[in-house]
Symmetry: D2
Subunit: 349 residues, 4 copies
C-alpha cells in the first residue's frame, strides 16, 4: 500500500478522492490537511465517510507530507504553486488537481488567473495528466498537472478528429454544461439551490479560464499526431446545469472533406482505452451513465450529412474531471493496474 | 369578452391556456374538449385551477365550437388537420398550437411527420404566428399556425443578424435545451423523474422535426428583409434539461465581416417588441427569469472578437413557446392590447 | 392607488412582494430600501422584474417612508423592532413579515431569538395577521405581525379540530417540510444546490423558533373558541425539501372521541375563506398546486378509523407563508377586495 | 464464486443488484431473466453497465435457474409466488425482494394485495430478511423474504425503543418520505419529472400496503425481546420526494416514563451492526449520506423533554431498502463476510 497525502481536502474534489481511495487496493490516505478544519475528524465534515476513515484534518506540514509516496493537491488555484518547491525538492511525487501547472505559457496563465505565478521554474517540469494523450510521460512524471473538467471532456471529444486531420481547427465550437459541484463548495448566492434549481444559463461566455488550457491541449494533439502545429480557435460556452455532477460537451466542427466512417474511427481510436467508451451509432450519452465513475462516454454524428460533425462527450466532473483522473494518473505513475480503485459501475438510477 | 374554445385541453399547453386565460380581461373559455376525459371537471385534472373554473371537459362538437369566437388546438400533430375544414368553413378563427400548419411545403411535412397531411388545402391559408415577424398578417388571419418552442427561441435569436445580412447562413448552429414539459404529459419511461433528474443528454441529433420549421422561418426572415432568398443550413441539437419549463438556445454563427456594435443592433431591433428583452452587455439570460411568462430574453456576444457571434435566447416553452404566444396572437387578431392577460412578472425564485 | 414602501427588499420575500404588487389594482410600490444595494435598480437584482419596475433601492429614510400609506418589513428579525417606533408615531400602517412582533410574551421572544427585544412597548399593539382567525382586528390594526410560514400551515390545519374541541391538545405533532427559499437568500454552504438537491433531512428537531409562535397561536384559537385556555404541547419537526418553494405540514392528533364527519367539518369551516381550499375526501394536497399563490389547500383523514386524525396542509412559503399573506392583510386593512392582486392560479406544471 | 440468478431484472432493483454484484468478491451473476427483453444485452437497457457485463436477458427457465446457487426475485408482487415451488423443490436458495412472502397471515396478504396468494404452503417457510433482527434464521434459510423499503427504515428506528419496552406501542407514528425510484420504472403520468419535480405530497394515507408488514415486524420485535406480544398500532403516512433515491422516516412515540439516556441506548444496540450507524447527539441524518450504500443512519431526540421521542432513520430505498439488503442476506446465507460487496462509501456530493 502506498501512502497518500491530500492537501486541502475540505472541498468536493477532496471528498471524492477520499471516497474513491477508500476502496483502492494499493493506496491509503495517511494525511489530509486543512488549515481551517485542523483537528476536526474528516467524517464530521463528510458524513458519508463515517465508518470508512479515522483521519483527522491537520495543518499542512512539509515533513509529514514528505513521508507520503504521493501528494494530491485538491486546492483552489494559487495554493499548489506556493507549496510545491519543497515537496519536489524532497522527492515526493505530486498530482495537482488545480490549474496551477496546466498551462505552459506563464504569461497566458498570469493573464487568465490575474496573479503572478509563484513557481515558474516548475511549470515546464509538469506533465499534463491526460492519460489518453500523455500516458508514457505520466509514468515517470514527478509532477502531474491534472486536466480541468471541461478540458477533459472537450479534448477527448475532438481527439480522433484532430489526430486524423479531418476538421477545420479554426472554427471549433464547444457548447458545454456542468453540474453545480463544478463551482465548488464555497458559500455563494449564485449556487444556492433556490437560484440554480429549475433553471439553466450560460456563463463566462466572453472568456472562461479553461479556454487557454483547452486550446493548448488541442494544439498539442495536433502537433503530436501530425508533426507540426496548426492554429486552433475554439468558441467555448459553458452553462450551469441544475444537477449535482456531470459535464456534457456538445462539440461542433466543419469537416474538411467527406469522411467514410467517423463512427468506426472513434471506436478504433478508443478501443483499448479503459475509460473512454464510444457509444453505438445513434445512441447518445447521458451524464447519469457516468455518475460516480471515471468513464467518458462519447457519441459522434454528422447530422443530415451536411459537413458539420457533432460530438457529444460526458464525464463526471468530480471523477474523470478531477479526482478519478488523478487516481488514474497515480495508478499509471506507480505501475498499478490503471483501473485499480476505479472499477465500480455508475450509480444509475 | 370573447368566447374561447380549447380542443384537446388535457395536456400541458391546455392547462397553460387555462391558467393564462383565467385572468385575461377580454376573453373567457367557454368550452374545452377531450374525448378521454369528457364529463370530468377541469379542476379535477388540474388541481391548481380549483376555484378558478367550473368548466367540464366535453367531447368535441363542431356546432358548439362554432359558437366560439376563437378556437385553440392544444393537440398532438395530426388532430388539428383532421378537424379543421368545418371550423374554417364555419367562419371561426383558429389558433393551432400543434405542428399541423406550420410548414408550407407539404412533402416536407409528410416526410418529417411520417404521415399523409389530411388537410392540404388549408396549409397555404395558415399564417405563421410569430408576431415579431408576421404581426400584420396575423391581424387578419383566420388560421394561425403557432410556432414551435425551439423555433421561437431560435428565430428570435438569429433575427437581427439575418435582417442585417451579417452572418454566413450556411453554417448556423443552434444548441438548444428544453425542460421536460416539452415532451408532453404522456406516460413514458424516458421522462420519469428517476430517469431525467440529475442528468442531461442530447437527443434527436440526427434530425428533429423542428429543423425544417426553423430553416423555413430563417429563410422567410432573409427573403422578407433582403428581397431575395439565401440558402440556410442549420445544425440543430436539442438537449433535455432536468427542469420543468424553459428553453435555452445558444446560437453560433460566423460573422461575414467586422460589426461595430451588435449589442446596439439587437437593442434597436427589439426596443418596441413587448415580449423580447435584450439584456445589457455581459448579462446572460437564465430560463427562470422568464418562467410563467411570454417573454423572450436575449443576449449577444462575440467572444474574444474572433468572428463568431454567440446569441443566447430563453423562453418558457409552454408560454412564449406555445400557449402564451397563442394568446399573444389572439390579442393581435382581435385588436386587444397585445399584452392583455400576459402582464404578470416571471415567478422568481 | 395606495403608496407602498418596502423596507429591506433584497431577499426572497422582497421580490415576492414586488412580483405580486406589480399587478395589484389598488397599490403601487413607491419606495424600496436596502442599505447594501442603495442606488442599484431593482431589476438588476431581480431580472424577472425587467420591464415591470423602474424602482431603485434607496437607503432607508423615515421621512420618505412616512409618505407611504403602508410599509412592509421584509427584513431578518431584529430590524423591524429597531425601526418601528418613529413609523408608528408618524401614523403610517405597518405589516411586518419578520418574527419581531409575533410573540406576545417578551421573555419567550428573547429566549428563542437570543437577543433583547428593542421595542417592547409596541409588542402588545401588534395584531397577529392570520386573517382566518383575526380578520376583524386586522381591519383596524396599525401594526400587523404577519405569521411565519410553518405557523400558517400548521394553524390552518389544526384550526377546525381545535375550535370544535375534538383533539387532545397535549400530544400534537406537526411534521413539516419546507422548500429552500425558507432559508432565505444568504450565501450559505448548507443551502447550496450541491448540498440540498437529491436529498432530504430534518433540522431544528430539538427546538425551532417557530414552535413558541405556533403554540401561542393554537392556544389563542382554543381560548377564543372555547372561552378558556387549554395547555398545548406540540412536537414540531421541520424538514428541508429539495424544492424552491412550498411547505407541506402533516399533522397528527388523537381524537377525543369518535367524530361523525371530519371532512364535512373542515369544508364547513372554510367554505367562505377565499384562501383555504379543503380538498375532496381521499384527495391529498401537493405543494405544486399552490405554487405562486396565496392558497392553502388542506385534506383530513382518520386512517383505519383508529382514533388518530391526520391533516395535510400545503402553502407556498413565500406567498401565503409570507408576502402574499402580507398583501391579504393589506387588502383587509384598506378595505379592498381581500383577493385583490392575489387572483392568479398556481403555476402548474 | 457462487452463481447468482436474477428473475425479472429490468427494473430498478434489478439494475441495483447488477451494480452491486459487479464488484462482489464471491458472487457473479450468470443468468438474468426477462420475458419482455429476452435477447437484449443488459448493457443496452442499462448503459451504466457497459463494459461491466456481457449478460443478455433470457426468458425464465427453471432448469437454468436451478443451476444457480442463489436466485433473486426482482419482480412485482405476484410473480415470485407463481414461480417459487419448483425452485424450492429443486433445492436452490431464493431471496425474494418482492412482497410475496413477507406477511405470515395469508388473509392479511390477500386483503392488502387484492389477489389470492398462489403459493400459500411456502409462506411459513420464508424467513423475514431483516438481519438486525433475524440474522440467525437467515443463515440457514432457503427462502428469504426481503423487507420492504419503508418497513426497513421504520423497524430499525423503533427497534431499540421496543426491545427496551420504553414506548406506548398503540400510538406510534411513522411519517416517511421516499424518492421516486420507490415507484418503480413503469411508465406513469404521476411519476413524470414534470409532475414530481419541485413538489411534495403525501399518498396512500388511508392505508399503504407496507402497513401490515411494518406492524407484523414491530410485533415480532416486541414478542422476541419481551417474551410476549403487545398490540401495535401505527399511523403510517408515506410521502413522495423529488429525489431519485432515499427514504427518510421520522418516527414519533410516547415514552412510558423518563429515560436516562436514549442516545446511549441506541448506540449500544447498534454498535456491532455493520449497516446501522447511530449519529452523534444533535446530528440528524440526510438521505444523501447513505446514497448508493446499504447503510441505515439513525438519530434520536426527545424534543423539549416532553415525553415524545423522535427518531429519524434514513436508508437508500434501492440498497438497504431492497437490493443491498438482499445481498447482505446472501452474504449471511453463504457464510461470506456480511459486508462483502457492500463496502463503498456513499456518493456525496
Amino acid at each position: 500500500m502506498i501512502k497518500v497525502g491530500i492537501v486541502g481536502g475540505t472541498g468536493y474534489t477532496g471528498v471524492e478522492l477520499l471516497r474513491l481511495l477508500a476502496t483502492h487496493p494499493h493506496a491509503e490516505v495517511t494525511v489530509i490537511t486543512s488549515r481551517a478544519e485542523a483537528g476536526k475528524p474528516v467524517s464530521e465534515l463528510f458524513p458519508n465517510l463515517r465508518g470508512h476513515t479515522d483521519l483527522t484534518f491537520t495543518a499542512p506540514n512539509v515533513d509529514v507530507l514528505l513521508g507520503c509516496d504521493v501528494i494530491f493537491f485538491a486546492t483552489p488555484h494559487g495554493v499548489a504553486q506556493a507549496s510545491m518547491q519543497p515537496l519536489i525538492d524532497g522527492g515526493v511525487r505530486v498530482i495537482d488537481l488545480s490549474a496551477d501547472f496546466r498551462i505552459r505559457d506563464i504569461d497566458t496563465w498570469e493573464k487568465w488567473y490575474a496573479q503572478e505565478h509563484a513557481c515558474k521554474d516548475l511549470v515546464a517540469k509538469a506533465v499534463y495528466g491526460l492519460p489518453e494523450v500523455n500516458r508514457e510521460h505520466i509514468k515517470t512524471a514527478q509532477l502531474v498537472a491534472c486536466p480541468g473538467c471541461y478540458p477533459t471532456s472537450i479534448q477527448l471529444g475532438f481527439l480522433p478528429l484532430l489526430e486524423n486531420n479531418l476538421i477545420d481547427t479554426q472554427s471549433l465550437i464547444a457548447n458545454s454544461a456542468s453540474g453545480t459541484t463544478g463551482a465548488g463548495k464555497q458559500a455563494n448566492v449564485h449556487t444556492l439551490f433556490s437560484e440554480v434549481s429549475d433553471s439553466f444559463k450560460a456563463y463566462g461566455v466572453s472568456g472562461h479560464r479553461h479556454l487557454p488550457e483547452i486550446e493548448q491541449g488541442l494544439g498539442d494533439i495536433i502537433e503530436k499526431s501530425q508533426g507540426q502545429p496548426q492554429p486552433v480557435e475554439l468558441t467555448f460556452v459553458p452553462h450551469l446545469l441544475p444537477t449535482i455532477r456531470g459535464i456534457h460537451s456538445t462539440l461542433y466542427a466543419k469537416l474538411k472533406g467527406s469522411v467514410s466512417d467517423i463512427q468506426q474511427l472513434f471506436e478504433a481510436r478508443y478501443k483499448d482505452e479503459p475509460f473512454v467508451d464510444v457509444l453505438p451509432a445513434n445512441d447518445f450519452p447521458q451524464t447519469r451513465t457516468v455518475k460516480s465513475t471515471n468513464m467518458c462516454r462519447i457519441a459522434v454524428v454528422e447530422p443530415q450529412d451536411r459537413g458539420t460533425v457533432v460530438v457529444m462527450s460526458v464525464i463526471d466532473n468530480l471523477t474523470k474531471g478531477a479526482s478519478g483522473q488523478g487516481i488514474q494518473n497515480m495508478n499509471i505513475m506507480f505501475g498499478f493496474d490503471e483501473t485499480a480503485g476505479l472499477n465500480a459501475p455508475a450509480l444509475l438510477p
